[in-house]
């Protein structure tokens, strides 16, 4: 049953990749998969994965702002933005490794691990494809999508 649920969710991602409504639907489906991976087995350890999903885009935003990416006039400090990229990559892999380590230690079951990882794939998929949908138009320079994330 969990395998079919994951399959249906991944199929939805391929179907609904055209609209913002579909994107938010896929995001909700990803969170549903993560919560179901805890609730179906009565074991709430995989919920710690959600913390990495929340923390992953945070260094990019904070460090990019501090490095002066938004402000054209200030001198751009690349090293600070790089630290943000590094921490984001670290958080993303942590989100995938945590269920694997929990399952390897026997704390959670393997189907719960698979559900948690596929939920993480859906959530990261939406946050990765988000720039293709939200295209901001700046009337001075033309259209561009946001390059972060």
């Amino acid at each position: 049953m969990p395998y079919s649920l994951c399959l249906i969710a991944l199929l939805f991602l391929s179907y609904l990749k055209t609209s913002v409504i579909g994107l938010s639907f896929v995001l909700a489906l990803g969170f549903l998969l993560v919560i179901m991976s805890c609730a179906l087995y009565g074991n709430w350890w995989p919920l710690f994965v959600v913390a990495t999903y929340v923390l992953a885009p945070l260094p990019n935003a904070v460090f990019g702002r501090y490095a002066g990416r938004d402000d054209v006039m200030s001198d751009y400090q690349g090293g600070i933005a790089d630290a943000g990229y590094f921490l984001t990559g670290l958080m993303i892999i942590t989100g995938f490794c945590l269920p694997v380590v929990l399952a390897h230690a026997g704390v959670i079951t393997v189907p719960a691990m698979i559900m948690s990882i596929s939920g993480g794939l859906l959530i990261y998929g939406t946050s990765t494809f988000k720039p293709f949908f939200f295209v901001f138009v700046d009337y001075n320079y033309g259209a561009f999508g946001c390059d972060a994330n």
């Binding site: 751009y76 990559g89 892999i93 230690a105």
Partner: protein, 187 residues
């Protein structure tokens, strides 16, 4: 960046054969390389944490527990991480030493010289970490021939230090192409 390793300055070169150039990446590839570097860092540490957890929760139905992950296994990873920090905290511009503000001709205080000593210490930490993980694998797990599960703990230690080294290498290549992107963005 073209004068890195003093390639353009033929008189100052030390080695007979020119050193290979570090490849220059575009802005997108540079960001992707830093993401990959962070991912490798996390992956290495998670391999080790997995081994630690399995050693702690040893299931005695699998047989007697001959060896466990102790502080000796932590030392190579800590060395690699400290070395990676030291390497990446150095300003890459200070290593070149071709700018007059960074090097003083014949003077006692040269910033480039200090930066190179720091770089050497960092690389020594990283190489020591990798060599230490291999020696822990051989001496603690492989030579007594405990069995497959115990050997996997040592192998995960080697994987940890290898991926930390790969992470530092990718980060080095990415950070050496900094100034171009900075210039493009400032315009």
């Amino acid at each position: 960046m073209s004068t890195q390793w003093n390639l353009s300055d033929r008189q100052k070169r030390i080695c007979l054969f020119p050193m290979p150039r570090i490849p220059r990446l575009g802005p997108k590839a540079r960001d992707a390389a830093i993401y990959i570097s962070g991912a490798l860092f996390a992956l290495g540490w998670w391999f080790f944490i997995d081994a630690v957890i399995r050693s702690k929760n040893w299931n005695y139905d699998d047989g007697p527990k001959h060896a466990s992950v102790s502080f000796v296994d932590w030392v190579p990873g800590i060395c690699s991480t400290v070395g990676m920090l030291v390497i990446n905290l150095i300003d890459k511009g200070a290593l070149r030493g071709d700018s007059f503000s960074f090097s003083s001709n014949g003077g006692g205080t040269s910033v480039a010289w200090k930066a190179r000593v720091f770089l050497f210490v960092g690389f020594a930490f990283m190489a020591g970490g990798l060599a230490g993980s291999v020696s822990v694998l051989c001496i603690k797990y492989l030579l007594p021939n405990y069995g497959k599960i115990f050997t996997s703990w040592g192998i995960s230690n080697v994987i940890q230090n290898g991926s930390l080294m790969a992470s530092a290498a990718i980060l080095w290549v990415a950070q050496s192409t900094e100034s171009e992107y900075q210039y493009n963005f400032a315009i």
